[in-house]
Symmetry: C2
Subunit: 330 residues, 2 copies
């Protein structure tokens, strides 16, 4: 049984949010009586980027609220979409008159609730547009998803769209940027252990002592194959081959990557894995121009990681990734 540090599973998200805003009052504040975390920093007259989803993926998304990234993040219950009224409230508080752009991970609950909130906000006269992130190539359709799931690549979306908003781009320009970004970004992961939600006594799935699963989702959704644990080199070979098959051949060999820890995997192992990614990309004559390594989009205490490739089709992507921001966790 997994031991957890908490008081009452029913209040874990509420107490987490209080802990975040008490710890970082210079960057974020809580909209009272809600699961909305809002940036303290003003950026008058710019488009607001808003994201959110179920909790349990920290630092996503609240850790990326701040100057240069998100204007607000909506925190649902653990692994559960926030409600439409919470998302609507986030849109209202984030809007500065230039509209709100929503970054939605592709899960059925999120899609339904964010779209409903978008409609309600539009009825109140707020300009809203959105993009659905579906970077996980592991499986088509899944436990909570139609189509492909949205996972760690979402952090690059926050960063790149956040930069565009900070530069004063219009909501139409941000939409176009997002639509160019999504098809160039692919992710796939692997798990070494299951994950147990607070209050549960058993993990959502179990793996044998010597077993891993390729393609597991960030809520423990089934992947595409189980195997014995292999070396880092072989794990990278499997994931990278699968990712590269998804990119159409063209002359652009420049990429940005994310090696994302799922929560319980030490940074040491993430960097061993990153080393093999860099080496094998080089063997494939592919250049990595930007790397992000760490726990960005987690699944509570799950051991495992994911690899994201973003093809740098637009120089703006790289410029945006390299820009400094003022958030807790980028």
């Amino acid at each position: 049984m997994i031991k957890k540090i908490l008081n009452n599973p029913d209040y874990i998200v509420d107490e987490m949010i209080d802990g975040m805003v008490l710890s970082h009052p210079e960057l974020i504040k809580r909209v009272p009586e809600t699961g909305i975390i809002q940036r303290t920093h003003d950026k008058k007259g710019k488009v607001a980027i808003v994201s959110g989803g179920g909790s349990g993926h920290e630092p996503a998304h609240a850790g990326f609220v701040g100057a240069g990234m998100l204007s607000a993040a909506v925190c649902g219950a653990v692994f559960t979409s926030p409600t439409p009224d919470q998302i609507l409230e986030a849109i209202k508080v984030a809007d500065e008159g230039k509209g709100v752009f929503l970054v939605i991970k592709n899960y059925s609950g999120d899609i339904m609730n964010f779209e409903m909130a978008q409609e309600l906000a539009e009825m109140e006269g707020i300009k809203v547009d959105s993009i659905v992130v579906d970077d996980d190539i592991a499986v088509e359709d899944s436990l909570y998803t139609q189509g492909k799931r949205g996972v760690a690549g979402t952090i690059f979306v926050h960063k790149i769209l956040g930069y565009a908003a900070e530069k004063g781009q219009s909501i139409e320009e941000i939409k176009e940027l997002a639509e160019n970004l999504i098809p160039n970004m692919k992710t796939v992961g692997l798990a070494l252990t299951g994950v147990t939600t607070p209050g549960s006594s058993t993990p959502s799935f179990a793996l044998a002592d010597d077993e891993i699963e390729y393609g597991v989702g960030i809520h423990g959704e089934p992947g595409y194959r189980r195997e014995k644990l292999q070396t880092s080199k072989d794990l990278v070979d499997e994931l990278l081959t699968k990712l590269l098959e998804e990119f159409e051949a063209n002359s652009n060999n420049r990429f940005a990557i994310i090696v994302n820890g799922l929560g319980g995997t030490p940074l040491m192992e993430q960097y061993v894995f990153a080393n093999d990614v860099h080496k094998q990309m080089k063997d494939n004559k592919l250049e990595i121009e930007f790397s992000k390594v760490g726990n960005l989009m987690t699944s509570l205490e799950m051991q495992g990681l994911s690899l994201t490739l973003l093809r740098l089709e637009d120089d703006f992507f790289l410029e945006a990734l390299k820009a400094t921001v003022d958030t807790i966790n980028w």
Copy 2:
């Protein structure tokens, strides 16, 4: 048995270092054929702050190399001090003519090897001084230590001394600052699980399914008491009471804190814990003016966390903590 992502346990640190420098070439570089990570950013004519120790505590210390913090970090084998010749080499590459200040965690191996390196460097005409960090109040003497162990507070030392160096302070001024800092900083931790070094098949210690241990060290050294797992509130009450007993009563009630994840504990739980720290500090009429929450000084995949209190006896401490830096993980 703990599953790990690696190729060969003998090369895990070597591959980790390669992975770090390949991922962050804009910030750090490796001194070839060594375990030394050096900043790429020049700060000509200033004191260099150098730290290091056994690996397995990432992001400490390499993640804190960069403008405003460390000039170099020396990475030993897992949980093993770097050798004197490696530390000497780090001193030589880091020195810019104004001397090198060493931040040493209080473990017998580190003390011996850093002191030997300091002597060798001084014989070569380099000005070197140092401070020993012994913030862990859990126990006197331990498995690898005489006196108190050095743990997560070390990150505040990097930050505050790094800022002083960046401001152009002399090595004598930095020594005085360090000597004022150390007595005002106390840490204590707790573990929910043991830790298994790469290549081992069993953890260094074991806890029952419902058990925690107060005061465990960052290499799994024994703590001061085992108990059943309790609520976050009760855990905070225990650690905070123990910490506050260590501070002599005076009229200064201003503190900076670190809630440090030991590697396998999700950020969600760290923030629930941080929330209780903030509340109980307030109940004690103590103010928290700066908080850092996250995996800073880890113990591989160990579940657990530590709490550090730094009394803000000098306004310079807070100014230094708030300053921006250019590192991978601060």
